[in-house]
């Protein structure tokens, strides 16, 4: 064997060493594949525009997106737009999650309440909440509160149903154990229902991040004068596709970052 082994791998068998090497190589190939795919798509897009296979005025182009980014950056407006959208999304997301969890607790606490509300939740869940946008604008007005309300509306019902289903899946034997110790309903909630539901709540959070973005962008389409959704709509109206594409890419990056934040939160919580 000509391969020299790192110090910490001295104590493992030849087979295991080869297995680890193989694994490492495979993972490297996956990452390389991802980078190559991205580079190829960007290059194809750029070349297709330069050679006039497609019209860059309509499809934009990576080089134009970079220019637009630089322009927005130098104007300073970029960060304001990003900031507003992110803020609205975070607000809708947090309110949706907290509100959803509180309503789920109420439903768990009172079987009567959950039975009464059941058909309403089913209807609200199946209703496309975006249809309520105009009502929100009339009621709340033109601006961030209406957008946050939109995000909240879209994420709330899903959060309620997700968290509640987590609550009712808690093993009855665990609840009985606490009851045998003489636990009150509040103690059961605090000592078993909530901690046992953390994985379900986290997966509800993951869905909610995406839904909050949908709510905010739709809200901005409808009412706003600032934010990434506004930039996309405005760019579309004045036929500046460079602006539209740039905003979409920023949006994708921001949404991915926020999702990663929830994943980190999940890791942190599950380690405890």
């Amino acid at each position: 064997m000509s391969m020299s082994r790192p110090q910490q791998l001295v104590n493992i068998s030849e087979e295991h060493f080869l297995y680890l090497q193989e694994r490492k190589k495979y993972r490297f190939r996956v990452i390389l594949g991802r980078i190559v795919l991205l580079a190829a798509l960007l290059a194809l897009w750029e070349i297709a525009g330069n050679l006039r296979w497609i019209d860059p005025f309509i499809t934009s182009q990576p080089s134009r997106i970079i220019k637009t980014l630089a322009l927005l950056h130098s104007e300073g407006a970029l960060y304001q737009h990003i900031g507003i959208t992110v803020l609205e999304t975070v607000a809708g997301f947090i309110l949706g999650t907290i509100g959803g969890t509180c309503i789920a607790i109420a439903l768990w606490w009172s079987k009567f309440l959950s039975d009464v509300l059941d058909p309403y939740l089913v209807i609200l869940n199946s209703l496309p909440k975006i249809a309520l946008g105009p009502i929100l604008i009339v009621w709340i007005g033109n601006g961030p509160p209406a957008i946050i309300a939109m995000a909240l509306l879209i994420s709330l019902i899903v959060a309620v149903l997700g968290v509640y289903s987590g609550f009712v899946q808690v093993e009855p034997e665990k609840i009985r154990l606490l009851q045998a110790f003489g636990a009150s309903k509040g103690q059961i909630l605090q000592m078993v229902i909530l901690p046992a539901s953390i994985p379900t709540i986290i997966s509800a959070l993951k869905i909610n991040v995406g839904l909050s973005w949908v709510g905010v962008i739709v809200g901005e389409f409808l009412v706003s004068r600032a934010g990434l959704g506004y930039l996309i709509v405005y760019g579309g109206q004045v036929f500046r596709l460079d602006l539209v594409m740039t905003s979409v890419i920023i949006l994708a990056a921001a949404a991915a970052l926020m999702y990663q934040a929830v994943v980190l939160l999940e890791k942190h919580l599950s380690r405890q």
Binding site: E173, L177, A180, F181, G182, M191, A196
Partner: protein, 263 residues
């Protein structure tokens, strides 16, 4: 007369004419009917019966988890209420909370009963030390073997210092070998702590090997079919050794016949 009276110990648990009915839209199910039973202090009672005969119902009534019944259930002469501190309930499988360390799991009952203080904590710690889990106090349940988890669950029940332990198919989730060893351990711990215990099981051999008395219930609605006083001749009265006693098979056969199992 007086002497004869003092020989008979006051039963720790008295069940008199217990009838339990479950209501459902499809109708009424009588789970237990006119069941009477006495359990003396320090006794280990095994309850067996055909499936669905109300074994677990009986335990749930004694644990104060079912409160709608007719008849009387007394522990130390007092009627059982919800949340009684006289009983310790061991559910099917250990039901340790994965998000709590072993130590926090052991303190669960004390926490629920707002009874966490230096005295109760040192009692719980003593139990962990005595039964070989002190080194794992800060581990999480998933880091322990099945047998150790069961021991931790038993210590959690003992930590609130109950008069009587109720074991509801407590070992049914374990594989056969672990089950035998855990039954041995649990029996020894309960004997050492001088506790009374009622074990509900569908495993006849487990009931005979662990109990002083085996109570056989009838099919639903459950009532007492027979009571067997288990007397085995063996060197050590541990559940594993008990199985080697010559009488073991006789008890097994007669209980098996009484259960009248048809599949």
């Amino acid at each position: 007369m007086k002497g004869a009276n003092s020989l008979k110990p006051v039963p720790l648990v008295e069940v008199k004419n217990l009838t339990v009915k479950y209501q459902s839209p499809e109708g009424e199910i009588t789970a237990l009917k006119n069941l009477s039973l006495e359990v003396g202090k320090g006794e280990f009672i095994g309850i067996v019966g055909p499936s669905g005969c109300g074994k677990s119902t009986l335990l749930n009534v004694i644990a104060g988890l079912i409160t709608t019944y007719t008849g009387e259930v007394l522990i130390c002469g007092k009627a059982v209420r919800r949340g009684t501190r006289m009983v310790g309930y061991m559910p099917q499988s250990d039901q340790l909370f994965e998000w709590r360390t072993i130590w926090k799991n052991v303190l669960l009952g004390l926490e629920v009963q707002n009874n966490l203080n230096e005295r109760t904590k040192s009692f719980a710690w003593k139990l962990l030390e005595n039964y070989g889990l002190a080194d794992f106090a800060h581990a999480y349940p998933r880091q322990l073997s099945g047998g150790m988890r069961q021991r931790a669950a038993l210590i959690r029940t003992l930590a609130v210092d109950p008069e009587i332990l109720l074991l509801d198919e407590a070992f049914s989730a374990l594989d056969y070998q672990t089950r035998l060893i855990v039954a041995d351990e649990v029996k020894q711990i309960i004997a050492r702590e001088n506790k009374t215990a009622i074990l509900v099981t569908h495993d006849i051999a487990e009931a005979i090997s662990m109990s002083d008395k085996v109570v056989v219930l009838t099919k639903r609605p459950g009532s007492i079919k027979s009571i067997h006083n288990i007397e085995l001749t063996c060197s050590e009265k541990t559940p594993l050794k008990s199985r080697e006693a010559p009488e073991f098979r006789l008890y097994f056969n007669s209980i098996w016949k009484e259960l009248d199992v048809h599949v």
